[in-house]
Symmetry: C2
Subunit: 375 residues, 2 copies
Amino acid sequence: MTDPFIRAFEDAGCEGPLAGLRLAVKDLFDLAGVPTGAGNPRWLETHATPVNDAAAVARLRAAGARVVGKTITDELAWSLNGTNAHYGTPENPAAPGRVPGGSSSGSASAVALGLADIGLGTDTGGSIRVPASYCGLYGLRPTHGRVSLEGAVPLAPSFDTAGVLARDAATLRLAMGVLLEGAAAAGPITRLLAPQDIWDEIPEATRAAVMPKVEALGLVVDREPLFDSGTEPGPLEAARVAYATLQAWEAWQQHGAWIEEHRPEFGPGVAVRFANAATIGNTDIAAAQRVRSGMMSLVQDRLPEGTALAIPAAPGPAFKIGDAPNREAIVRLTCIAGLAGAPGLAVPAGTVEGLPVGLQLVAAPGGDEALLALA
Amino acid sequence: MTDPFIRAFEDAGCEGPLAGLRLAVKDLFDLAGVPTGAGNPRWLETHATPVNDAAAVARLRAAGARVVGKTITDELAWSLNGTNAHYGTPENPAAPGRVPGGSSSGSASAVALGLADIGLGTDTGGSIRVPASYCGLYGLRPTHGRVSLEGAVPLAPSFDTAGVLARDAATLRLAMGVLLEGAAAAGPITRLLAPQDIWDEIPEATRAAVMPKVEALGLVVDREPLFDSGTEPGPLEAARVAYATLQAWEAWQQHGAWIEEHRPEFGPGVAVRFANAATIGNTDIAAAQRVRSGMMSLVQDRLPEGTALAIPAAPGPAFKIGDAPNREAIVRLTCIAGLAGAPGLAVPAGTVEGLPVGLQLVAAPGGDEALLALA
């Protein structure tokens, strides 16, 4: 006599904390039986269809979420724009005629359009926080390593994270509650650091839209600068360069061999970035690693338990389709969490000429739950 | 601007006619991302993991059913016992210490144990009707061709059907309503043919248990013999031999090359049947085909619209594990529907020494809905 099952498991059912919620999955995550494209047709052609769900998808499904589709991503997740040269630009209903932001562009668009409740995305250097800001959504880049990336196409593993976009804070909290592993840092956020030096480089209209949201949280707000010196090109720009160097180098380690073998056709921005990535030398890496270590220490020192950094999620609202963004200005705001492996929460803050811009709250690693409680 | 989805689809949700029902899938049907074993370890090793659900599984899932596992099958579905030499004998809670019947053994067991509500199975020569009878369940072998077998491992394609086992008639009807394609024959069953010649070969205890159920249906019951002659070995035994010959020949066409290449280890009964199947000659086939044609005509003539054949689903209750069944006597009762491509419904009828035995109702092809209405 034996159990009747060769293999027992459960389809997503009508129970669990996410029952009834529709899940849109960025096409960087494996779904059993569905090809993974990573935003590039050559990738799709040269990889076998997965037989298992990515770990994050499996968790969300097991908690009752219902997959409603796979969504467009920027190519290999290496863009913050959401303008895929092969598959198009998903609609941003909060900013018509403008980009949705990327690289979690389709997940953000699907959630903003009401076609899904949970948008599963990744954030290496802003790919959840920027589309959240542009589409008027809530989004969390978790602490590096707290959400499994098994079954997800990597971009730069020491920076890659998987997280969620949602229309409201309660849904974001529910979904991230299912995904987050490991220990949370104890204690609520009671103090915000909105450093003068970083806010000084934000355009006036964005400052005017986002700062009231900082004040509305009702916490102590300190305005001390994040960095000590004012040397040129400035420590925030140095951080951006270090992030860009390390991320590009890791991306080439991940994908250089595949690119050389399969010669994929990339859209213009991505093509240039991969071409440059191939030329990064050891000296650049060493210097960038030193900057990264400095940022990790700075975040630990300046963001003790109970304190979150409060800065805009992007320098301004979504740009018009066809316009060129100031990528450097965007990455300067997203790279702090990236370099420090820290969680970064984007919440809708206000509007500039009717277009959404988000507030970004960054805590020291492990502060995911504290940030979510604040949202 | 484009749709955010690369590929849109829906996981089984909380809606649809089968919402909330648990589905056990015989390990002959593909499930995306799950290896198909067909009851034999060598089969499992030598076949790629499927990337799509079998058509029947996809339909049931789309209607809201939730897969709870893949279930044990007899090897390549070629047995009516439910005693798999590699994976064991699933429990028959209605007849402790006895076999569940096969080859849809695990699906029947899972449903009988209350671990699933819908047991997806196949019936080539009785593999749904016999376990239904042994486990006290409802089961339908549909009209040949009315339920898709895409993504299911074949045994003998001109006889193979996919159908369902359930604990109650309402669930069976719901699930088969989702699976059945093509036109139903019109009109309800008003008359039963319980032919004296067939009932005469049924052991007395089974007759006593099943006939009251025939009478309880409240329809006209005719007892005229099914066959004209009483020649030896008798037309029902001739039908059984024809069925066994054609089914074995088709099984060898399907699997002979794979067996010769991969040398699977089979349990004793299956091994002998495949060995014999390899020796069937064209003369045997031609003779068997004539018998099959005769049975098709007989069913059309004797089971006009409104009439169903009423015979036991098996000669007796489940036999004890370790005992040898009278396979010929069982197949004589199941081969009529098989040869005619006709639907056969098994319903719990009564008990013999406390062990369930089923009534089998067979209609002409297309009469599936009429049989289900009668249940």
